[in-house]
Structure formats: C-alpha cells, structure tokens
Amino acid sequence: VVITGIGTLSALGRDRHELWNSAAQGRLGIAPIRRFDTAAFDVKNGGELPDDHWLTSLPAEIADRHCRTTGMALYAASQALADAGILSTAEPRAIGVYVGSGAGPIYALEEGWGNWFARGARGMRPTTVVQTMFNVAASIVSVQLRLTGGNQVFAAACASASAAIGHAYHAIMSGLEQSVLAGGCESPLEPALFAAWYAMRVLSREPDPARCCRPFDRDRGGLVLAEGAHFLMLEDLERAEQRSAPVVAEILGYGQASDGVHVTAPSAGGQVAAMQRALDDAGLGPGDVDYVNAHGTATQANDRVEAESLTAMFGSRLPRISATKSMHGHQLGATGALETILCALACRHDLVPPTIGFATPDPQCAVDVTPNRAVQAPVSVAMNNAFAFGGMNSVLLVGKPGRAR
C-alpha cells in the first residue's frame, strides 16, 4: 500500500512543501491564541492556523454552514486527492474516506447545544443533526469529492488518525477498499473544549511560545493544543502503477493495543505491544527502524513512560527519535496523520526533523530526541507512535517505496 498524495493544514503549513520546509528548519508553529479571549486561563499558547484564507477555497455551503473541523477536513482531503494527481471530481471514484477525530464537529456542537440551552426545542435548526453527527467530516468529503468507497470516522482520542490510517491500510490489503483518503481533523481551540482541557491541568502554562512545548526536556510543563487536518491518499501499489501515480512512501505495517489499565495514565505494556504488533505486521525487527516520531506530548507522565517503552522495545540500539509536537503542538485526533506524513517525508528526504526548544535532558527520559536541529541521515523505515487517552496505542510503520517485504 503506497502513499500517493498528501494534504495538510496546520500552523506549520498549508501544503506538504510548506510543512516539510517548516519541519526541516525546526520552525515554531505555537503562538499566543488569537481566536478567542484567553483571559480566563493562565494558558495562553496554541497551534492555531495563522489565518482563515483556506476557507475561501471551499464551497460556500460548506464554509458557511458546516463546522470549522468539517471544512478543514474537506480542504486537506481535496488537496491530498489533487496531490495524488486526481484533479477532476466530475465522475464518482471508488475511493474510501477514513477520518480520525477525537472531538468531532465541536463548533457545530457548541452552537447546536447552545441553541438548546438558550431557547429549548424551538432553538434547534433543521440542519443541526447533519452538522453535528460525528461522521460529518467523512460524509462531506465523500459527497463533495464524489468518493464512493466506505466513509467513516475513527474516534480514539490522540490515536484517532493513526487508527484511521491503519485500518485504511488493512482495508486495502484485504481488498475491502481499492484506495482510501485517510487522515484526521481536529480543532481543540474551541473555547469550551479548551476550558475542559484546561480543567484537567495538563496544558503548558509557559507564557513564552518558544519554551511552551518541550517534549522529553526535564523542565517540560505539559502539552500545547493545536488544530489541523491532514490526509494521505493510500492505494494499492498495482493500482498506483497503472495510473502512473507518484509514490511518496509506503505503509509497511500497523499495530494497535490497549493498556487496559487506566483512562489517562499511560502504560509501557500497551505501548510496547502496539510497537511489536506493527513490526510483526510489517515483517520487520526493531533493528530495521531508522526513525521514531514519538508521541512526545511534553506531559511529565507521557514522556517518561514513552522513553521507558522505547528503551524496552529497542534496547541499547535506539533509532533516531524526535517529538515534532514541539513544533506543531498536539492536534489530538489529527496528530497521527500529521506525524505519519512527517515520517513519510523523512523517508523521502533522508532527514530527521528535530525536537525544538530542547534545553535540559531528563535522567528519567534517557533517549536522544534529535534536539533543536534536523539531522541528515538515511531513513528507510520510520515509526509513528500515537498513545491516546482511553488507553489506545496505535503505531504505524512507513518506509521508502519498495521497502515492503
């Protein structure tokens, strides 16, 4: 199964070229939040889209009527399709749409339930259901782009997009789908959801954006919420070759496992099991992995346990590791798609993007995380970790074209 197209929308860029330039240069996509008043919070920073110009390319009925997250998904999915060389949507195509999202159409939910609380039953508009149904992003992408494979949403918190990509990979391998646009969309910068995260005391209170998200640093202070939508066009190699599609990289394997322990506390057992299953699925061993894009959220607990898991998985021969959330923040249900794209581009360019803002090593996280500068090094196989609240761990393996066994 090959990746033939990429669509991306986040503070690090509005297409794969902008994204890769940002990641390779270690650019910071975290800044003071502007879209809502943060006076009630002592958390000020987020990974916000720098502007809303992207909205103008959407059909008015979507841009005006639908949730911001739905529009973001359509923007990134359209881009991935075009990047794969499919420029016309005049005819229906047998392509699936698998979307990861942790919170779904959150702005539409806020408006819909806001109307309910303000005016009761009479406040509910006729289109509230279609705007707030959890699968709306997958549905709108399918309808607008005339894609007739299955369309569905995967909800597994921070592992949502990785699960969507992993299941798309297996759906193509099994013959259920021929091609799938797989990815995720999320905007946790909706004020009520932001307040809920704030109440959980896991957000970084650091006022300086450049020091706000510091995964694996001894002085890390928590995660930084960010918005984004990212899609990969996945297709059967034979089909891609038939239409002479450009191949960016291959999906080599997918593994998932739940901790089965606690709703938020991470556990090394589930993480190692997911990594092992991904390697088994790909027919690879730990020594084959050149680069790991870590989950690396910059919470004390995540990074400590993930370092333990990486050491348990790879022993003394650790691959290169980095935590790119230091640049793009935590996009929750979309983050696995963004980081899988970065893994694919790392394979393409033989470059490991950095963990920026890194100052002080943590003795409890004894892993080298490619601090502050990208490293040119051969990347034939890359692993992306996504470890979610709820206990779900999803691990994807990506490789250079032709790397699959």
Binding site: P59, E61, I62, D64, R65, R125, T127
Partner: protein, 82 residues
C-alpha cells in the same frame, strides 16, 4: 400583525438568499420562481421554513412544506397567517 405582499416579499427575499447560499443559480426571486430552480434541496427548504417560522411567528405544517414548490406559494401561506 398584518403585512402587505410587498413587505412579505422584502423580508422573504433575504431569507431565501440566505438559504440558497452555495447554490450557483442566478434565477431571480419572484412569485413564479420554483425552489427547484434555486437548487434548493430538502435541507435548504427546511432551513428556509425554520427562518420563516421565526421571522413571521407562524407554523408551517409538514404537509404544507412538502407541497411548497414556488416562492409565490410561500408568500400566499405567510399572507394568509400574518
């Protein structure tokens, strides 16, 4: 409240323009204009009905909504009730 047909048309025009957002139809909004010409689907018609109910403080029954084909029919319905 009693509204003239012109007043109803004036208020309704804005609601129809709002509801047809996204449609590429350039059809003018007159009594004869069919909602099909405006490329209204069932969701757009329901959104329009909701706005009409709110703006003119009336109720449109399901069967009345199903029978609405033209702007003029909607104006008739509003005129009869306002």
């Amino acid at each position: 409240m009693s509204l003239s047909r012109d007043e109803i048309h004036g208020r309704l025009r804005a609601l129809v323009e709002h509801a047809k957002k996204g449609s590429t139809s350039a059809a003018p909004i007159t009594d004869q204009t069919a909602f099909a010409e405006l490329q209204f689907d069932s969701l757009a018609l329901m959104e329009l009905a909701y706005d009409v109910e709110e703006t003119f403080q009336l109720t449109i029954a399901d069967e009345e909504l199903a029978d609405l084909k033209t702007v003029g029919q909607l104006v008739d319905l509003i005129e009869a009730r306002s």
